[in-house]
Symmetry: C2
Subunit: 227 residues, 2 copies
Amino acid sequence: MTDADPLADPAYRAALVDLLGVLAYGEIAAFERLAADAAMAPTTNDKAALARLAVNEYHHYEELRDRLASLEVDPVAAMEPFRAALDAFHDQTAPSTWLEGLVKAYVGDGIAADFYREIANLLDEENASLVCRVVEDLGQNEFVVNTVRRAISEEPRLAGRLALWGRRLMGEALTQAQRVVGERESFDALFLGGEGREGLGLGGVARLFTVITEQHTERMKALGLAP
Amino acid sequence: MTDADPLADPAYRAALVDLLGVLAYGEIAAFERLAADAAMAPTTNDKAALARLAVNEYHHYEELRDRLASLEVDPVAAMEPFRAALDAFHDQTAPSTWLEGLVKAYVGDGIAADFYREIANLLDEENASLVCRVVEDLGQNEFVVNTVRRAISEEPRLAGRLALWGRRLMGEALTQAQRVVGERESFDALFLGGEGREGLGLGGVARLFTVITEQHTERMKALGLAP
């Protein structure tokens, strides 16, 4: 980035608003999903732990909403273009068990976080740090990994089905991500770069897919699942 | 209360732990219910507003959990005796529409808050103020009342069904409250009083029912519903 106010560039501003909008709706959707998982929790302790994760997502939503408002953008309008794709992702991947919910929380949020962290490299410092903050692991991963590993060690036959589930999550996430990126022209400006701004470039796109694939494999292994 | 440490009385201490336990589980259950209502919300704004209410309940749960821990009580063990009754209440009164969910949030939580506020009169100052704080209206009522009134003014035939719903909530709440109070002997000590502690007395019990009934009527009227 140059020293000039990056928001003075309308193409950059439009892409930033879209990025904050999709992130904000993603946080609300994640809140809902984790709260629904809390309802499936086998113990009160697990219930409270999942509820805590849901609450973290809501607080991230608030930060994003406030940033959008500070850009004089209606947060609901900014989220609207992404509602259908995110709702579709969650409808297509509604967990039918408590463990499927946990794997989704870890694998699905992991894929999203990798994606947004790479995109953050294209943003001005202030907004890059906001994006990295809201996708940061707040300890949820440790809870999920421990719980899933324990369940599998108690009942090894769970591993096959959960491994399939993890692969399906990856497929659906990529499908919806492509839909979002493809539908919003604003993102082209971000990815291709502009005056005083570097884009992703071919190398960057390749890197994005490599990072997401490698990290997904690592996460599946951490859960004790075949990637 | 006398100046002596009220917690030195085992009967008082047991009742307090039970009261904090039922309140804590009630907050977790309310979190889950409001989050599920958020999933039914017709707009993103409504969704975010309900999610915010759910998050408030979760923070109340945390306060109660921490107070139980500071009494060197396992919060999960303290909540356990009340899980069945509270889950039964919510299972019996699962809202089938967004508006039923809102009426439940207002009417159901209102009944609970009236009940707990009266009981708080029997507690030491520190715990009384905690109880009053966690049942306080944090602005949710205004949101609910406005939304329900608007919906009824747009579609007046909704009023009859929602009025029946409100009466059913009152009935189920009283049923489960009696079950909780009846099953836990610890509450007898609180209601009947003890050394240096006033109980509710007959007048207090009468007052409790009068307050709950009157306030319920007021809340139904505020929603534009026949009590």
